[in-house]
Symmetry: C2
Subunit: 394 residues, 2 copies
């Protein structure tokens, strides 16, 4: 009777969201402090004080009907230009406000990008696996097919494998660095090798392969900040969000930045505008457009996430868990203690540990731990992790 | 190279948005007070003071990482329940929080509703014409076809014409009352006749015809508030937004309310959830979810819009323009002084009057005037309207 694909999507729900909902119910039952909810990437670090100050300033100084009125579909011009100037100054690429499209966080940025790029049913988007599960949904909605390509043992790019996956239907490679769920941050050399390989491919193709970079975690790097992809490859689209960097995940504010060196940049931007219209976006929330424009380059408390990472990583390694130390973001990707990650998560749940099994990330046998939680949640969880490990050695 | 449908949509842009953009450029050239911009429905009345107070209260009392964090995909439970309680109390229908889906304004509400309802390519949504042009885009994106059916001379429903347009592919009738662009408000008897006709049709059908009600202007009625459609027809979905009632058009906050009497209400709600996921919605902006929940039932200054309506309506009638007096919303739909409305708008532009030609609303020969503007814009525009009329009598 209704759209079956949508109904199934709604009934299945995102596995992450499902565990998140379970966690909320469970916390209500046994108390928040007794549930160790590592399910969702809901930032625990408060936004920088400047965000609240900027919101209060806007609310108390601007006429409210002007503050809350429609903006142009692509965003307020001064905000687009501020984002472009930030990208120009920070990364030394010639970004222009005309190629910045403000939207509802990275999810909407990616959805509009795929809808704009995918011209025919069945065109392909290559993604290194493991990958954020909703990519499958966004690409499918745009008529495309997501093609996962396994990364190497440290979850870094396998350029040969990506090259081997390219077909005449390939429209883009989708990168997410720092990576959700692994915490991997791709090195400059890795990106340069990828760019070189893609440029070679492009010579024999009618249309170049695009590089779509999902970058909400860029500012959450524990080492050096990675190279800006537009600096190494021309046909690049950056999808960014302030969800994680400014702890505004629920406010849905982010942007698409199309490299001016992209082949057909203006035509692509028009297609993004059309996609935004078709997807019902209208304009990004105007109060938060203005607020983030006043706080570009600021970051929530990264040190807190680093301490969480170190505490959890050291403790789990000490208990015999296997994992690669995350270089960025706030996820730890840990090998399951049995082949079936879902069964492992079910057993973890008996210890009130809420972990996400890796299967929907395109790989079996792992769990994702979102460590953007309070320090006491991590401390409190350690005996449960120890008991869980011990339950496998009996 | 890119998606042609999206590129065309982006290049064509909405005619309303195009005039709005022209107006912004023109104001920068000759001064805001010299351009009479009646193009867009951007509310001029400030939001009720309670909205700003509630925003300030939330920002100064809630921990910001909690305030701005993700909500569940369908919205914060307390907000969904508050909206349901408001509907129960105000309209006497048994709404439940479980059937309320918070989203990015009415555009996203409609997009998700169409995506959930339209099961097969080519299914039909009937809409009384004239109608809001973006309906065509939203229905098309969901794989459907919008079927316009002309209203009567006063822009009220022609039930016989709607009945004649029903085919086996019809999935819903889409109503917008108070209407954009005509200002018509459908009377209780009209809705009851429509409901009766649809119920008769349903007896011979496998699936009932849905009634989708786009209601952002409900609280902007100059007479009695119209009957709530769920009270007269079971298979009803209300798409509402706070854009106009609380002057929050740019903040993108609204909801879908599915009647519990709807056939398959829960399955339909799941399909809405799936559609929201596919369209990249994630969750409605959380600060504004909370703020509107604290201000349900409040309305921006309706008296100001009424005075604008009366001033403009009387003046234009006095100059010989033909129009039906609006019963709600803030649009005046005026007969063009020549058959080609676009040519008429071009001539109006020479007088710095920015009007929207009616063609994209599904009817030729009219213009839409958005009178949600400052009083002085209306007063200032009257000599220009007079000169425009005079230019046709030479």
């Amino acid at each position: 009777m209704f759209n079956q694909e949508m109904q199934k999507l709604g009934e299945a729900r995102s596995i992450i969201r499902e565990i998140f909902e379970y966690g909320n119910r469970r916390k209500a039952e046994i108390g928040e402090e007794n549930v160790f909810d590592f399910s969702i990437g809901n930032p625990s670090a408060p936004p920088p004080a400047a965000i609240t100050e900027e919101l209060l300033r806007l609310l108390t100084t601007m006429p409210p009907e002007k503050l809350h009125g429609y903006s142009s579909a692509a965003g307020l011009w001064e905000v687009r230009e501020a984002v472009a100037a930030y990208i120009r100054e920070k990364f030394g690429v010639p970004m222009r406000g005309e190629l910045v499209y403000m939207t509802y966080g990275a999810a909407a940025a990616l959805s509009a990008t795929f809808s704009a790029l995918i011209a025919k049913e069945g065109e392909e988007i290559i993604v290194p696996a493991p990958f954020f599960p909703e990519y499958t949904v966004f690409v499918r909605q745009a008529g495309g097919v997501l093609v996962p390509v396994m990364t190497d043992a440290a979850f870094h790019l396998d350029i040969g494998a990506i090259a081997a996956a390219i077909t005449p239907k390939t429209r883009a490679v989708l990168l997410n660095s720092p990576n959700n769920p692994t915490g991997a941050v791709y090195a400059e050399q890795e990106l340069r090798s990828l760019a070189e390989m893609l440029q070679k491919c492009n010579m024999g193709r009618e249309n170049p392969i695009f590089l779509i970079c999902d970058e909400p975690y860029r500012s959450l790097c524990y080492g050096e900040e990675p190279v800006y992809p537009m600096a190494v490859y021309p046909h690049t689209v950056v999808c960014d969000s302030f969800s994680k960097s400014l702890s505004l995940a629920g406010e849905r504010i982010g942007y698409i930045a199309v490299s001016p060196q992209c082949e057909g940049a203006e035509a692509f931007f028009s297609a993004v505008m059309g996609a935004g219209r078709a997807l019902g976006y209208v304009c990004a929330p105007t109060l938060f457009q203005r607020a983030v424009a006043g706080c570009l380059g600021q970051v929530s408390d990264l040190a807190a996430y680093r301490e969480n990472r170190d505490l959890l990583y050291e403790a789990l390694c000490g208990m015999g868990y296997e994992c690669v130390k995350p270089e960025g973001a706030f996820y730890l990707f840990v090998k399951s203690l049995e082949p079936d990650a879902a069964a492992f998560c079910a057993r973890a749940r008996e210890h009130e540990l809420l972990l996400v099994p890796s299967d929907s990330f395109g790989i079996g046998g792992y769990v994702r731990i979102s460590y953007c939680v309070k320090r006491e949640t991590i401390r409190g969880s350690l005996p449960a992790f120890a008991a869980l490990a011990k339950s496998y050695t009996k």
